[in-house]
């Protein structure tokens, strides 16, 4: 059974942080990584993410798994970058019309490292925060409750849909559907019986879930919702917020000093 929840439950300081603080970390790091084209900064962000993951007792095997996931993409970015960016000197390699220059190689590496760092920022968030907590944080940040509920329901139904998908594949293969035969177009078309059945089943069950929610009085007007889990910022959360406030200032100061 495939798990769609990346969350690794551990009793760590990072797991206990308010989901809003962690979301701010993700938002801020995303903006900084996209805005600051400096290899030292990007590598620093990668180191920071690893320190955070290890301090949150995320096992090495998970970190290795993320790298394994990112490696093909990283290589692809570098390899695609080189022929598309023939500018600058010195030229490291000249082959027919392909020109690899040192600045282009550095730029390719920068783009790839930026992608990895962005991925790790999101993994820090998703590996240490329960899906429910993520949604709770969004709702407290102003997302309408119904949207939050929809989001967490969608996440909760992903594994269910996956298992239904596998059953549909079985059912259609048992009717003689061959998924690994023919041209790419034929193969894509052969997926249709699976996708349509999955869609119909998903629509049917979403209607049922909707009715079940209504039957439990979701959307009643004139009622103020209360929460079982109230989010409250603790001292450590404020310390993290202070760090998140200082980080962009420090980056800006370093940039100006250069």
């Amino acid at each position: 059974m495939l798990s769609f929840d990346l969350y690794v439950p551990r009793p760590s300081w990072l797991h206990r942080r308010d989901p809003r603080v962690k979301f701010l970390f993700v938002a801020e790091m995303t903006i900084l990584l996209l805005a600051v084209p400096s290899l030292p900064f990007i590598l620093g962000a990668l180191v920071l993410c690893h320190v955070l993951l290890l301090s949150a007792r995320i096992p090495w095997s998970r970190i290795v798994a993320i790298w394994r996931l990112m490696l093909p993409l990283t290589l692809l970015v570098v390899l695609l970058w080189l022929p598309l960016d023939p500018h600058g000197a010195p030229v490291l390699l000249q082959f027919w019309r392909l020109r690899v220059t040192r600045p282009a190689l550095l730029r390719g590496l920068l783009m790839a490292a930026r992608l990895d760092a962005l991925a790790f920022v999101f993994f820090v968030w998703l590996l240490t925060t329960e899906q429910r907590a993520i949604v709770r944080g969004f709702v407290r940040l102003g997302m309408p409750y119904e949207w939050g509920l929809t989001l967490s329901l969608a996440l909760r139904y992903l594994p269910t849909l996956h298992s239904i998908y596998l059953q549909i594949v079985d059912a259609q293969r048992a009717r003689g559907l061959n998924l690994n035969k023919g041209s790419l177009f034929t193969r894509a078309r052969n997926r249709l019986p699976i996708l349509v059945a999955l869609l119909v089943t998903a629509l049917r069950s979403s209607e049922n879930v909707g009715r079940a929610l209504e039957a439990r009085a979701l959307g009643t007007t004139g009622v103020r919702r209360t929460s079982l889990h109230e989010l409250r910022l603790r001292r450590a959360d404020f310390l993290c917020l202070a760090f998140l406030l200082l980080l962009p200032l420090a980056v800006l100061a370093l940039a100006v000093a250069r």
């Binding site: 059974m1 239904i164 059953q167 549909i168 079985d170 059912a171 259609q172 293969r173 048992a174 009717r175 003689g176 559907l177 061959n178 249709l192 019986p193 699976i194 349509v196 059945a197 119909v200 089943t201 049917r204």
Partner: protein, 297 residues
């Protein structure tokens, strides 16, 4: 009947990715034309075993052969014309814009000619009483009808073996009668039927042989009468003989046989003995009591 079995399992062990054994050392043979019920509590391995028979799952250890050919060398696609599998939930296979298209899908996958595909679809529509809905999208039909469409769609491939995974779940008594009546007819015409169910009354009425699974092992493989009258054996795994069997066994002191399987048999046995005591017992044989409740679960 020929001498060679249609399906054989030889020392089959199977584990899903979690590493737990879902099947343990299962060996059995199914002869052409047999009607076999696979019973057992939830998680006993019934569906896992049935999926070995059409190659959807391959043994981790051991061998499964269909008509003498090992499933490991074939795929479900290549076995589809021999072993048909009707899934528990009809919605897991229904996709086509019309019922006719839905039923034609399997025969078309077999590479049959257009005329043959059309002939088979029409025949299946008629046999399952679906001709009026031929042009209706099957997804909008009632649950009972969707079940019939799923069955008709697999039947149209004319497989020698039909595996039915809980075909009566969610159906009312009348629909159960109708669907299982069609299955009985297929069996009478020579199809091999493998039925997975929790409905003991249904097993008692239709199956010739029962395979009882528990914890991935074959606990019992016997004729239906022998299997379903073993109250203690069944109860040890959370199952029960049909109600009417239990009633007859409860009345064993009064001379009723302990191997009664159906209401009809019960009435016959009762009348036979009651006649000796009370002549007016004929009233009962004139109007057989229809209080047998079944199909639930």
């Amino acid at each position: 009947m020929t001498e060679s079995p249609i399906i054989t399992a030889e020392g089959v062990w199977f584990a899903y990715t979690d590493g737990e054994w879902a099947l343990q050392d299962v060996s059995l043979r199914i002869e052409p034309g047999e009607y076999v019920a696979i019973i057992g509590p939830n998680g006993a391995g019934k569906t896992t075993l049935a999926k070995q028979f059409n190659g959807l799952l391959l043994p981790t250890r051991g061998r499964v052969r269909v008509l003498g050919r090992e499933t490991a060398n074939l795929g479900p696609e290549k076995l589809a014309h021999i072993v048909g599998y009707v899934f528990q939930n009809p919605d897991h296979q229904i996709f086509a814009p019309s019922t006719r298209e839905e039923i034609a899908f399997g025969p078309r996958n077999l590479g049959l000619s257009d005329t043959e595909v059309r002939a088979r679809a029409d025949e299946a529509l008629a046999r399952f009483g679906l001709s009026d809905m031929a042009d209706v999208p099957p997804a909008v039909l009632s649950f009972g009808l969707r079940r019939k469409v799923a069955l008709a769609a697999v039947y149209a491939m004319r497989p020698q073996v039909l595996i039915l995974d809980e075909p009566t779940g969610g159906l009312d008594r009348d629909s159960v009668r109708e669907v299982m009546g069609l299955v009985a007819k297929l069996h009478a015409e020579g199809h091999t039927i493998i039925l997975i169910t929790h409905d003991m009354e249904l097993v008692a009425e239709q199956a010739e042989r029962v395979i009882l699974l528990h914890g991935g092992r074959v606990l019992l493989d016997a004729g239906t009468r022998e299997a379903l009258t073993q109250g203690e054996r069944l109860e040890s795994v959370g199952l029960m003989p049909p109600q009417i069997t239990r009633l007859a066994q409860g009345l064993a002191l009064y001379g009723l046989p302990a191997d009664v399987l159906t209401v009809r048999e019960f009435v016959a046995a009762y009348v036979e003995r009651a006649v000796e005591l009370k002549p007016q017992a004929e009233v009962i044989s004139d109007s057989p009591p229809e209080h047998q409740r079944g199909g639930a679960g």
